[in-house]
Amino acid sequence: MTAAATRPGGGGSATDRRPVVLPDRARDNFRLGLSLLFAILLVWSWWSVDLKWSRLLEAPADMWRLARVMARNIELSELGELIGLMWDSISMAWVGTLIGGVFALPLAFLAAENLVGRPVAWVVRQLFNVFRAVPEVILALLFVPVFGLSPMAGVLALGLHSIGSLGKLCFEIIENIQRGPIEAADAVGATRLQRLRWGVIPQVAPELTSFLLYRFEINIRASSVLGIVGAGGIGTKLAESIRFKEFGTAGLALIVVVVGTIAVDTVSGAIRRRIVAGPDRSSDDIDPLDQLSPEARIEAETPGSAS
């Protein structure tokens, strides 16, 4: 059987050298079709988009010139003010995340099919989807005329969007819990609330806390640009300096944003890992993101955007 398996009809030849059998090349019409579709879209975009492609070749030189102009015009006296504004942005992100958490965490329990009925879960999930769909910047755009040029517009924009994205991550974690503790709580006659308190929350608390911090890290990226539509924070200064071509200020603001973001990421990341690992670091390599569905997971890992 082994010789026959190498190649049908090829076995039994006098030579010792067995012919090499290559596996069939996999063919997949679905993937082929998808690739073709994208190729067509790409060619169409390439030809019809309103830009001179020759300009693309000049872009590196342009950016290099920009970097030099920025470096030359940086005034360190502005550093204090910019750091203060970055702190505004960080504060907006923190309060926005908390608003998101206050609404998303209770709602997430109502979106988990193992705790409530299917219809309820479906409704709450659609609610999350609606909040998730609209970018923070668009929300801020609509809130600024209501609240005036204050950080509150930005905070609420971040908060509303976070309800959707946090809620989605959290209900998946809640759906993955073990039934044991819930059954135990039921067996000793716990009420619905007690069952939640003793059977569910202890299982999910570390993960949910770490997602809250995760969201905070992502919200910092969004909040640092919300000011572009007038919602406060360092983005306002950045937008101004771009509009009036104050290269030095723009350059320094960029550096402050990058350094501030990475610094908060580092601290928050360390706390997150410690929360999930537990006091004795027993579960050191357990990543709460691993418990998510692939779709929710890549969404959770998307680095900052305001959209």
């Binding site: 988009v49 970018p135 609509l142 509150m152 290269f247 990058v258």
Partner: protein, 267 residues
């Protein structure tokens, strides 16, 4: 022993963790400081939403037809084109870059380290900031938007691919080495095929993100439908703004559903 009630032995309560107490106190302190920094007040929220405001008024007489006006349609097409081109460029560049920033793909430690730092910096810059930067560098227009989406895609894709690369099977790599493959051949035949399905699904996801991002790029002058949004905001034409926002996000929603379905088939 017979008449005594059975002794219940409760498990000992875990000790209060100092870490948890510290983090809790820090979080509460952070909340107070931050809330006062942004001037958070419930009264303000309540009052502002209670008043009639032009934005809510605009939603009531929303202009559904705005998306089909000549200019908005052209801006929408530009958004679509930018998303396609930005995704194509970013996705293509992200594959070698993320390979070179892992131990498997790049045994040379210093260059790997430099690349990782570079990628971390790229990831800390949000999409609109890229757009602003390129508007300053290459001027207002679609080119700035395209470059912004390129770098944003690079950030998203490299993070996702790096995580996938961490989990690949070492077997094929050893096999390739054993068969005498060069480094490039090994990557081509043992690593890339393993991540290709995930890569394709990330690319689709990246397109979704770029479509959404390219809607806001125009706010800083980097082309696409955001240009129209900024215009309506300046003119305070909230009815038209709402019309555009709602229609655009319906499109985004449809694209997202489609892409989720395709992604499930791919992986």
């Amino acid at each position: 022993m017979t008449d005594a009630a059975p002794q219940i032995s409760l498990p000992t309560r875990p000790k209060r963790s100092i870490f948890a107490i510290c983090v809790g106190i820090a979080a509460v302190a952070m909340t107070f400081v931050c809330a006062s920094t942004v001037g958070f007040s419930f009264i303000e929220i309540w009052e502002n939403f209670g008043r009639t405001n032009p934005v809510a008024q605009g939603l009531l007489d929303i202009r559904w037809g705005e998306m089909f006006s000549e200019r908005s349609r052209r801006a929408f097409l530009e958004t679509l084109q930018l998303a396609v081109l930005g995704t194509a460029g970013g996705v293509t560049a992200s594959l070698p870059l993320s390979l070179w920033s892992t131990t498997i793909g790049n045994p040379h430690r210093p260059s790997r380290y430099v690349l990782r730092v570079f990628m971390n910096i790229i990831r800390s810059i949000p999409d609109l900031l890229w757009a602003g930067l390129f508007v300053l560098g290459v001027g207002i227009g679609a080119l700035a938007g395209l470059l912004a989406l390129f770098f944003f895609s690079l950030a998203v894709m490299s993070k996702l691919i790096a995580d996938t690369l961490d989990g690949i099977d070492i077997g094929p790599i050893e096999a390739a080495h054993a068969a005498g493959a060069s480094h490039t051949q090994m990557l081509r035949s043992a690593v890339v095929p393993q991540i290709l399905p995930a890569f394709a699904s990330f690319a689709l996801y990246d397109f979704e993100l770029n479509l959404r991002a390219s809607a806001v790029l125009g706010l800083v002058g980097a082309g696409g439908i955001g240009t129209r949004l900024a215009f309506f905001q300046n003119q305070q034409r909230w009815d038209q703004l709402w019309g555009l926002v709602v229609m655009f996000f319906l499109v985004v929603f449809v694209v997202e559903r489609l892409s989720v379905t395709l992604r499930r088939r791919l992986v």
